[in-house]
């Protein structure tokens, strides 16, 4: 490093600011947790000191970096905290609220720093918060506040300066010094003298000790880690290839070298995977605040407990898990835990319990969210599911309680439910499940009426490398993720005759008293089902469906590196990705949930049990339809499979360009088409300022179709008549005993100018 040029200096500053931001965000998460904890245990010196320290650090650094508004804000907050810590004030709910507001404002300011490099964003109103803090500061004990504050100010400056100077040598001897100095009781004997001063000494003495820990780790760019993971994947593959080649090698030296390579590669892989691991505590640190706010808003009393903070999983998975977990926690509070009055009436303590638990189990991470609320009533669910056409009455009659409860994850169920009942929340449980399945996980709900609900999410440790069963079909090789694997069953000719039955065209395996639907690998791949003399069945499980895939050959289990496949193949439900085998050939990874859905295995079960051939034909031609109201009382229907989401937008979100209407939606623009106009009806006026929109996606383009409201989802075999055929309408049909227009989706979509 020679002399610093101007550019170097700017870079240095940017780096310091970036570090400051990362550190402060971590600190703020800690702060949220501490403050919520504090409300439960007011007066805890330890917590108050910790909070004080965090704010103090932010204040110090922001002063140093000349973020004046941030400094002013944290300064007042610090004063308030110091008085709380010294027992001069009590932590009342309003005070706690003002502190939380301060934390939020600090976060907003940091956001502004991150975006613009300055803390002067006009949108963040610091003065109001400062005023609120000052009110809290002068609140109950307005008698002698001025002096204390002044002492604090006087004491602080020199100490901070000293700390700057001493830093380097202290850090070096930190390990020696930290032990005798760190214990908090140090300032207990002299609280009257100069509490601020002593506290600062303690705080600053803590710093070097902490820094020593920080020095032991290095911040690494995530992109770099990702590329390392990629490279290790390659290395593992190459190793597999080399291993295969040298199995028969005579050269002892070569064999020895390969063994060593094998070992090193495995260890390297393990090590690299570890670098991407992060504790789940990172997600959980946000929960206390969410639960607190939500509990307040919903009028619940909730005791949040969390176990297994340090359970680690791949950071990309952790990222993907955030949304679903938050949703499940919200759900537990919203629909699980009752109001205090209801709880007391039910003979439970008024405070509900929400337990988050995470642990490792057989190579997977399990996250449990359980509450002791009112539970889910299977009868209600079932009634609702039948109403919505999610299941038929026949199917319903044969479902086990657990299956019934898990119906809430079905798309048909939740979209319909969300729009009509719970309103306005947008994301349903089906989205939770989709998101969890996308990362190779599963979710399962168990509930006892009156006693509570437990939601169990299982996720793989990492996405990049998974164990899989390799099977052969003809000349081809496929991989089935181990996570979906239940067991392997081999049936010789005589066993086959005994335990395989074909009911209504659907082959079934009697396995320990249960009927298991069978799908042959050939069928999965879109080929005719072969006649086999013996069967090898891979029993797999996806969500609540268990079925068997008949395969030609079972090879072995291997660690495979999951690779993405091109956009041309993403829409195929059969494949989850691809991998490269030991011989360098590409093998496709089967998507078990996708296969289950595509081959309607769930349906096969019920069909076979009812064993009614007549019904099969009917079901084959029937489609799920979304029935809706448009143009003031007219009924129209469109195929449910064309509907990707149902949304409600506030009218003032609609923006116009020319004659076209659009809303901003998921980081993009969603063009809107008014269905009434598109099919020649008169637009009706709604009283509330909301519009109901059916989101249709095809390829990469999306269109929102504005309707009056959703009436129902029905499963019906539709006979389309020419009656009422016109632009935008294919014809009409009788659905639920009423004449309903069948929407010509293509024509309607074309009006939006998209999709053509």
């Amino acid at each position: 490093m020679g002399s610093l040029s101007e550019g170097d200096k700017v870079d240095d500053d940017a780096e310091i600011i970036a570090e400051f931001l990362v550190e402060s965000h971590e600190n703020l998460d800690q702060l949220d947790r501490d403050l919520v904890e504090l409300e439960r245990a007011p007066g805890s010196r330890e917590l108050l000191s910790s909070i004080f320290r965090t704010i103090h650090t932010i204040k110090g650094t922001s002063g140093f970096l000349a973020f004046n508004r941030l400094e002013a804000l944290t300064h007042v907050g610090e004063n308030l905290l110091s008085r709380l810590r010294d027992g001069e004030m009590e932590l009342t709910p309003p005070v706690a609220q003002s502190l939380l507001t301060m934390v939020d404002t600090v976060r907003a300011l940091l956001g502004s720093v991150e975006e613009t490099g300055k803390d002067t964003a006009a949108a963040v109103d610091v003065d109001v918060v400062v005023a609120a803090l000052k009110v809290a500061l002068e609140g109950p004990t307005a008698a002698e506040p001025v002096e204390a504050v002044e002492v604090a100010e006087v004491a602080e400056v020199p100490v901070a300066e000293v700390a700057e100077v001493v830093e380097v040598p202290v850090a070096e001897v930190a390990e020696v010094v930290a032990l005798p100095v760190a214990p908090t009781p140090v300032f207990e004997p002299v609280p009257d003298l100069l509490p601020e001063f002593v506290a600062d000494v303690v705080a600053d003495d803590d710093e070097p000790a902490k820094r020593a820990v920080v020095d032991a780790s290095v911040r690494v760019d995530v992109d770099l880690l990702d590329s390392l993971v990629q490279l290790v994947g390659e290395l593992v593959l190459t190793r597999n290839q080399v291993l295969q080649r040298t199995e028969t090698a005579e050269d002892i030296e070569l064999v020895r070298a390969v063994q060593r390579l094998d070992l090193v590669a495995s260890e390297l892989q393990e090590g690299i995977m570890k670098t991407r691991m992060q504790p789940i505590g990172q997600v959980w640190s946000k929960m206390p605040r969410i639960v607190r706010d939500l509990a307040l808003q919903l009028g619940r009393e909730v005791d949040l407990q969390m176990e297994g903070h340090d359970t680690e999983l791949d950071r990309s998975l952790l990222e993907a898990l955030k949304g679903p977990l938050t949703h499940l926690v919200r759900n537990a509070l919203d629909h699980g835990i009752e109001t205090p009055a209801d709880r007391v009436a039910a003979g439970k303590p008024s405070q509900g319990r929400l337990l988050l638990r995470s642990f490792h189990e057989s190579g997977q991470v399990v996250v449990e969210i359980s509450d002791d609320g009112k539970g889910i009533d299977p009868d209600t669910i079932l009634r609702f599911a039948i109403e919505r056409g999610v299941v038929t009455r026949d199917q319903a009659a044969r479902m086990e309680t657990r299956e019934v409860i898990n119906l809430i994850f079905r798309p048909g169920f939740s979209t319909a439910a969300e729009v009509t009942n719970v309103s306005g929340r947008g994301v349903g449980m089906d989205v939770v499940r989709t998101n969890i399945e996308r990362i190779g996980g599963t979710v399962d709900m168990q509930s006892q009426v009156g006693q509570g609900t437990t939601c169990r999410v299982r996720i793989p440790l990492t996405l990049a490398i998974i164990p899989a069963l390799v099977i052969g079909e003809g000349e081809e090789t496929y991989a089935i993720p181990q996570a979906n694997l239940v067991e392997l069953v081999r049936l010789e000719a005589e066993d086959m005759a005994r335990s395989v039955e074909v009911v209504a065209g659907a082959p079934l395996l009697r396995l320990r008293g249960h009927l298991l639907p069978l799908v042959s690998m050939a069928e999965v791949l879109g080929r005719p089902r072969p006649d086999a003399e013996a069967l090898t069945v891979v029993v797999v499980q996806a969500d609540d469906m268990r079925f068997g895939i008949c395969v030609d050959k079972v090879h072995d289990t291997q660690e495979i590196v999951v690779k993405p496949i091109g956009r041309q193949l993403k829409l195929l439900p059969t494949y989850a990705g691809a991998t490269i085998m030991g011989d360098g050939r590409v093998a496709l990874i089967l998507d078990v949930p996708g296969i289950a859905h595509a081959h309607a295995v769930a349906q096969t079960v019920t069909q076979s049990k009812s064993a009614q051939d007549s019904r099969t034909a009917e079901e084959e031609s029937s489609t799920a339809l979304l029935v809706l109201e448009v143009g003031g009382g007219r009924r129209a229907a469109l195929p449910l499979r064309e509907v990707s989401r149902l949304e409600e937008f506030s009218v003032d979100r609609i923006e116009r360009s020319g004659n076209a209407e659009a809303v901003q939606y998921r980081d993009g623009i969603l063009p809107l088409v008014r269905l009434a106009g598109a099919i020649g009806l008169v637009e009706s006026v709604r009283e509330d300022d909301q519009v109901s929109v059916v989101v249709h996606e095809s390829g990469t383009s999306r269109v929102g179709i504005v309707i009056d409201r959703v009436l129902d989802v029905v499963e019906a075999s539709v006979v389309c008549s020419e009656v009422g055929r016109r632009a935008g309408v294919l014809g009409s049909a009788v659905i639920q005993d009423r004449v309903t227009d069948l929407v010509d989706l293509d024509a309607v979509v074309a009006l939006s100018g998209v999709g053509a």
Binding site: G233, E234, L237, E476, V519, E523, L525, G526, R527, P528, R529, K563, P564, I565, G566, R567, Q568, L569, K570, L571, L572, P573, T574, Y575, A578, I580, G584, R585, V586, A587, L588, A598, H599, G699
Partner: protein, 158 residues
């Protein structure tokens, strides 16, 4: 210099194509393909390109041309398209040619003549009437876009 364009040329069923070299990553001999059952016909399979999985789109199918003779092995023109790498399977590889499209050369990219089949027009951004042949300038992105007809995937019955 501004008016010079370089094209990587190849033949598909007698048609003379060119792709701007900027979108070509490399050209490879025949590679072993892993078939993808129930994929659209034009997807001939997947190849392992140094650890990366690349979809191979057969331009003969993509352009609605008759299939290649069984013993004729296609070549791979590996192109970058919409952030992915895609292999276009072609009959034979030609030279990389430099075309002078400055006004004084009298050559410019013209729209494809109207009587060229629409499936070819779809993937061509224009034609260059070179002295010795007509070069069809391929739009790699559009050539690599193969929509998946979902109906082909759900059928359990043949």
């Amino acid at each position: 210099m501004d008016h010079q364009s370089q094209y990587c040329t190849f033949w598909v069923d007698g048609l003379f194509f060119g792709v701007p070299v900027s979108s070509v990553q490399e050209v490879l001999r025949y590679q072993q393909l892993t078939v993808v059952p129930s994929a659209p016909e034009a997807i001939q399979g997947l190849i392992n390109l140094r650890g990366q999985i690349v979809t191979a789109v057969d331009l003969r199918y993509r352009l609605g041309l008759p299939a290649r003779a069984d013993d004729a092995l296609p070549m791979n023109v590996i192109v970058r398209s919409r952030g992915e790498v895609v292999s276009l399977l072609v009959d034979d590889i030609g030279d990389v040619i430099t075309v002078d499209t400055s006004p004084r050369s009298g050559l410019e990219l013209e729209p494809a003549p109207a009587n060229v089949p629409s499936v070819v027009q779809d993937v061509v951004s224009g034609v260059l009437a070179l002295p010795e042949a007509v070069l069809l300038v391929l739009d790699a992105d559009r050539a690599a876009d193969v929509s998946v007809a979902l109906e082909t995937t759900t059928g359990g019955t043949p």
